[in-house]
């Protein structure tokens, strides 16, 4: 597993963002250059003084955009060079309480918008920056401001923002219609077409109705939306009806991702009640996928290891698990499709890999 947070010491007293460089020729404003390194630490020098990072080879950090927090003496690798999986956490607050939440919300909020914006401006050319939470649109005004300024300054960047879409309104439409927002995709969760079931899963009464309203505004904004449905026992049999709903009412979406459960956060303690062994009960998933394809809605499977998906649907199983939390198990060693396969979450339980076999 790749460590996203590392112990570090800095001269500066306040938090700062910098990009780490090994090569003087690549140095730009705001960067820190490798000063010295030994077996256990690497020291960089930059506009914020000296920064010493422990437990990592300097070559692994080259080009990374990091956030140093002197108060807790750690760096956070916000944007790792060469990785397609970089996500910025806007807040840990959320107004939904989904049964399977992988990152259970907290009550407090630490405002880091200024630092995150600096990080975005230092991003490698042409990447997609993920934005996540908690719920980012709880701070909609600051979020939109940051997105707009970064997209204005950097026409090569794109954003992928995870949002429960409980906060979009008519007042946002004009703003979101700006062409720069074509470079923003909203990842929006929808678990069922039945309002009661969806509300139950997200732990908030009225969430489905509010989500429908937001989706209407997003559609009118010409927004790009990736619909996300995490598969859990309560919605397995409701998937075909959801597919029908999507093909009637949400044809504007860019993609529909049906996602297998991640064994972390709330899902860890509720695993037995939530986890669906799709290799044994694929029929509702298959029906949903076929309905979507029939009506021209691009659907795909996230976090589904390829050998566990019936062959005709395998081409829809994307390598979706982020590099830093992805693992392969013993049976994957000789598999021919490993490179195209999502693998497993680092924290995936060993007993749930039964039947995994090389292709």
């Amino acid at each position: 597993m790749i460590q996203l947070s590392l112990p570090a010491l800095a001269q500066a007293e306040r938090a700062f963002v910098t990009r780490l460089r090994l090569d003087r020729d690549q140095l730009e404003a705001g960067d820190s250059l490798l000063f010295e390194s030994d077996a256990t630490s690497a020291t960089f020098a930059g506009p914020h003084g000296l920064l010493s990072i422990e437990g990592v080879l300097p070559s692994d950090l080259d080009g990374d955009v990091v956030l140093m927090q002197p108060d807790i003496q750690r760096i956070e690798r916000l944007l790792r060079a060469g990785s397609p999986h970089n996500t910025l956490l806007i807040t840990e607050r959320c107004d939904q309480l989904c049964v399977m939440c992988s990152q259970p919300p907290k009550k407090t909020h630490v405002d880091r918008f200024d630092l995150l914006e600096q990080a975005c401006l230092l991003a490698e050319p042409g990447i997609v920056i993920g934005i996540s939470g908690g719920e980012p649109t709880l701070y909609k005004e600051q979020l939109f401001g940051m997105i707009e300024r970064v997209l204005e300054a950097r026409d090569d960047l794109e954003f992928h923002i995870l949002s429960n879409a409980q906060h979009f309104g008519q007042g946002d439409v004009e703003r979101l219609r700006d062409p720069s927002f074509r470079r923003v995709t909203w990842g929006v969760p929808l678990y069922a077409s039945d309002a009661v079931l969806h509300d139950e899963i997200v732990g908030k009464q009225g969430a489905f109705a509010r989500l429908e309203e937001s989706l209407a505004w997003l559609m009118l904004s010409g927004a790009r939306v990736e619909l996300r449905t995490v598969l859990v026992s309560p919605n397995l049999d409701a998937l075909p009806a959801l597919a029908r709903y999507v093909t009637r009412r949400l044809r504007f979406i860019d993609a529909w991702s049906i996602m297998q459960l991640e064994n972390i956060g709330f899902a860890r303690n509720r695993w037995d009640n939530l986890y669906v062994d799709h290799s044994r009960s694929f029929a509702p998933v298959a029906e949903a996928l076929t309905t979507a394809t029939l009506h021209g809605v691009p659907a795909r499977l996230f976090n589904f290891p390829r050998c566990t998906v019936p062959e005709p649907f395998r081409h829809l199983a994307a390598a979706s698990i982020s590099d830093w939390k992805r693992k392969y198990v013993e049976a994957c060693g000789t598999c021919a499709e490993r490179d195209a396969c999502t693998g497993f979450f680092e924290w995936h339980p060993e007993e749930a890999v039964e039947g995994v076999h090389p292709l």
């Binding site: 209407a216 559609m219 009637r248 009412r249 949400l250 076929t290 309905t291 029939l294």
Partner: protein, 470 residues
């Protein structure tokens, strides 16, 4: 509650097919229609109509916007020119009985692009804003001028996506032509009228030409595989070939898509095949038998999936709006916007059929030329009539959301565009085709569902393709 208008048509099997403006459809019985008319809908009727987008609650903002989106999705969006049909020469080394374009003789001077035309074509390519380009080289026989083909292709290097198609009779496949064929972005399109005898009668005339064609066809298939090459049969509807013989001649070469195309009422065919103005019931029955035979063969031999190209396109248009870019069936049908034809003399036509009609002296449908442009009154005049939205017959037609409008076809057959729609060949052909398709969609026979599911590019065979409410 707002009810969206439903167009209703009795299917061959006695169901009532209901379709709304967005193309969303279901089959039902007259009982539901009676309840709707009498304002006696049950709660379950209402729930079904709402879920399927046929009725919208006043509070249902998403339903409202989704309806507008789905409606817009059915309309062609054409903005940028990114598809060109180029005729570098009108000369040809064959003389087929139904030649579409009034060909010129092999050694006749004055039927190739001159330098000014070539320069204008190349300069026009430089101005195109689209990152994609598709170019079809037609003729005449374009391989008579590989130098012109090369010049065009070389000028297209800057496009992110390129696709070239050479429409050729494959009489000439020498090293110079093969060098072009080698390009991975180049495809070959040819005519194959069935078995060798039929092909020779219609096209190649002599044994040696026929042998040359078949030899070259096999050679390019061996070299590049069947997916680089497509072939189309042209069929004399008064004497169509035996169905299995035709399928075998295609399947035997590895082709899985067969475009069953009756002689086009264009060019020389107007005189030599005057019966081709209207296709009769016999032709439509032949087409149905052909498709049903393919369904049987697909079911029996699962190793390949054969399709009748146009049937398959129309089927996908029913379910997957926007998935096809077939310029012969779309609505509106913008002319001279996203694709044009540039003739051997630099004249610009909105479609290939418009070029043929003009060549045959029926009517001048040119919209400009490649040097001075084609943003012309003629083009605007055509576009003012290029949709089926306002046609009184189409407005009432169940199949309007799936159908298109073909002005040039009407002009070709009737010399006018204001024929009552139901009396046109275009309408009869598509009414029949969509009737047939909905019969297949609601057919529970597993063989039928298997083929339809493949033509719809599905990963499984769903229990039903069309919604039913009883």
């Amino acid at each position: 509650m707002t009810f969206l208008p439903l167009r209703v048509r009795a299917t061959r099997s006695g169901d009532m097919l209901c379709v709304n403006d967005t193309g969303s459809f279901f089959a039902t019985t007259t009982r539901l229609l009676d309840r709707l008319g009498d304002n006696q809908l049950t709660p379950s009727d209402l729930a079904f109509l709402k879920a399927e987008g046929h009725a919208i609650d006043p509070q249902d903002r998403l339903g409202d916007v989704a309806y507008l989106y789905n409606l817009a999705e059915r309309a062609t969006f054409a903005e940028q020119l990114d598809y060109l049909i180029l005729v570098p020469t009108l000369r040809c080394n064959l003389s087929c009985s139904y030649c579409q374009v009034s060909r010129a003789g092999l050694n006749q001077p004055g039927f190739d692009w001159d330098d000014a035309t070539l320069t204008a074509v190349l300069e026009m390519l430089d101005t195109l804003p689209s990152p994609r380009i598709k170019i079809e080289f037609q003729g005449g026989e374009p391989t008579l001028r590989p130098d012109l083909i090369r010049a065009v292709i070389e000028r297209c290097e800057r496009f992110e996506e390129r696709q070239f198609v050479i429409c050729t009779n494959l009489q000439r496949v020498d090293d110079e032509i093969l060098a072009l064929f080698e390009r991975p972005d180049l495809y070959i399109s040819t005519s194959l009228d069935g078995d060798a005898l039929t092909h020779q009668r219609n096209r190649t005339a002599t044994d040696s030409n026929t042998d040359l064609f078949l030899h070259n066809l096999k050679a390019v298939i061996d070299r590049y595989g069947p997916h680089k090459i497509s072939a189309l049969p042209t069929i004399d509807p008064t004497a169509p070939p035996d169905i299995d013989t035709l399928i075998d001649s295609y399947a035997g070469l590895g082709f899985d898509s067969i475009f069953l195309r009756p002689i086009n009422f264009q060019g020389f065919a107007r005189k030599r095949h005057s019966a081709s103005r209207e296709q009769d019931a016999a032709w439509r029955a032949y087409h149905e038998r052909f498709v049903r035979r393919i369904i049987e063969r697909n079911w029996r031999d699962r190793s390949t999936v054969l399709e009748e190209t146009y049937t398959s396109i129309c089927l996908r248009r029913i379910f997957q709006p926007g998935a096809e870019r077939h310029v012969d069936l779309r609505n509106p049908n913008p002319l001279g916007i996203d694709y044009v034809v540039i003739d051997h003399d630099g004249t610009v036509y909105p479609t290939d059929e418009a070029r043929m009609l003009s060549r045959s002296g029926v009517i001048d449908l040119s919209i400009g030329d490649v040097i001075s442009g084609w943003q012309s009154e003629q083009r605007d005049l055509l576009n003012a009539h290029a949709s089926n939205f306002d046609d009184p017959a189409c407005q009432r037609c169940t199949y309007q959301p799936y159908c298109g409008r073909d002005l040039v076809d009407d002009i070709s057959r009737y010399g006018r565009i204001d024929m009552p729609r139901l009396e046109t060949e275009f309408c009869r052909r598509h009414l029949h085709l969509f009737d047939f398709l909905f019969e297949l969609i609601y057919d529970n026979d597993p063989a039928t569902r298997y083929s339809l599911s493949r033509w719809l590019r599905l990963d499984s065979n769903p229990e039903r393709l069309g919604a039913r409410y009883t």
